[in-house]
Amino acid sequence: MNNIYKLLFEQKHITEKQFTFLESIRKEEIISLYYELRTVLYIGILLFTGGIGYLIYENIGSLGHILLMLLLGTLIITGFYYISKFAKPYAHDLVTVKLVYFDYLLILVSLLIIGLFTYIQVYFEIVAILASWSSYLSASLFFFMAYRYDNRALLAMGITALAAALGFTFTPIAWTANDGVSTNYTHIIAILLGVSLYVSGYLSEKENIKPHFKFTYQNFGLITFYLGCLSGIFYTAFDIPYTLVALGSAVFMSFYTWKTKAFLFFLYSNISAYIAFSYLFFELVSNTSDGYILLIYYFPCTCIGYIVFLVKKKSHFAHE
């Protein structure tokens, strides 16, 4: 069997018109550059804003600085001209805009504004005064742009900027190398931020204000909450209280997300519960003399048991 569309057409699952169209795609008579162009645009923004940000530091006090500031200002104004030309009025629901690169334009302009702001700070030597506030300002700008122009990427950037402002670097991708959540104080902040983000997501849907923001809020909320708890276990003296908080909430969330069929959140909760439970178990066993025998069988038994459970209950999350 080598042609899906032909088979579907022959068995009368699709019409001839659909078949001809799909065949033209398969034979590469028409090629979509959708992902390619977006990737190029994205990498361009990444490099350009990154480069500009660094150039600002290098060129402070040199001849180029006024020029650079003017350039940034012009770019921002041009960007806003296009944004206002195509943007629709604010609405609680999902807003779709005709301009295909509107989302990218928003991100670029937001990052440039922050670049210009940084420049002004450094140029007028007010860094020290604004140091603790500049992250909040960046976060507010991201949040404002996210809500006004309906953009989830900016919302996610706003959340991470907020976390940075509160004192911890939020990089779950590299969380093993993450020493951002360091003091005892920040663990509690992380936990509180996690809870409030999760609740914000819940409220977004309940009050019907940008309900499609729910996933981003709750995803960051849960990750922040669990990372806060788990790093509390391993890096503070209050390991047992943190373990109990993590275990309790993760078990509760496991049941809740099982019921609401939120698969990804179910997994987060399961993993956190497993880590917390293992920690408790090891603490208990290490106090006994022959406990190490149990440890040999702990990982194979729990892992295989959990696999069997997940595979047996596969139909529960079938829609995923």
Binding site: G44, L46, L47, G50, E58, A153, T160, A164
Partner: protein, 391 residues
Amino acid sequence: MNKSFIAYDIIALEKKKILSTSQSLYKSKLISEKQWDGIREAFNTNLYSPSVFMRVLLFILSYIGFSTAAVPFGFIFMDLDNIGFQILFTIVGILLLFLTEKVLIQNKHHYLSGVTEAGLFSGFSFIALGILFNEPENILVYPIVLFILSALASIRYLNRVTLLLSIAFLGWIIFQTLVDIGGYAKAVIPFAFMLYFGLLFLGTLKLEKTFTNIIFNDFYSILKAVSLTCFYVAGNYFVVRELSIDLMGINLTEDEDIPFAYLFYAFTLLIPLGYIYWGIKKKRILFLRVGLMTTALSVMTFIYYFSTITPVVVVTISGALLIISALILLNYLKKPRHGFTRENMILNETHSKDLTAFIASQTLGGNSTPTEDESYFGGGGFGGGGANSNW
């Protein structure tokens, strides 16, 4: 390829492929809900093939499970000598493969479930450990054994990771042979690799014509993309120069150059351009993608050796150029031209605004404070493109 050599039920895999393709069509609104329901009913399979997150989780769990399960056995056989360990490892490996195939693949109909992959990897690793445990003197034995095992795994269990591994191990065999011969053979290593990947590409085209089945399509795409990219890398000036110095112990001063330097400059310049030209002319998206990527690498190579401006300026300017050219092309392709369009015709399976948002927050530096140095370099790690889900 004899079809009975493949461990899976081919018919079921075909149905699965038809289903996933049709699902993308439905999500892209190219077929109606009624049509999608009809297809879903007609090509229903009992294969167990969960979503990406589940797969990764199952893989990690099973891998921990399988490897820690061997620990109690280790205690029992602690007094064995080398030969005894070799036999033990091989038996454990074969047992794992046997169980994976009989229980998971044939009885439970697992396909890319994560559990099967963990079983296969641990099984093949144990066999490799068993064969190579006595540390053979001739280094060439290692890549040959590993190549045979990974090639077997890629064909019988249709595994993509082992496919990539077998390409790499075959490369290692070629490299080791030429180094062992020494002398002139060492100087032709770059050409040997270009020849290897060139032949791999042509061989894939040939295979694609011989074994036409939708379930192999992904494999052909991987093979073609890898061989085109590596063909370029093998002739890239930077790679050849640096590897000559590192691996062959050639001493070069600033003014000296590697043998055939101009040839490699030409390769670095011409291969990407050739790819892009061919991609536009023949309308091959694969050539365009590889062409764009290799162009970026060539630009970096030439800047590394010839540029007098600072890297930051280069980064900024190239970023601006990329933004401008993307915007120009997006405007130019408002209407489809010459068979190219900017519109999305069939959605990618992993297409999701939530995912894009997450990646943006991790790469675009929303998580850094402006008072630090290098503030805008943000999270760094670029997790975007990798679309080939391996397990």
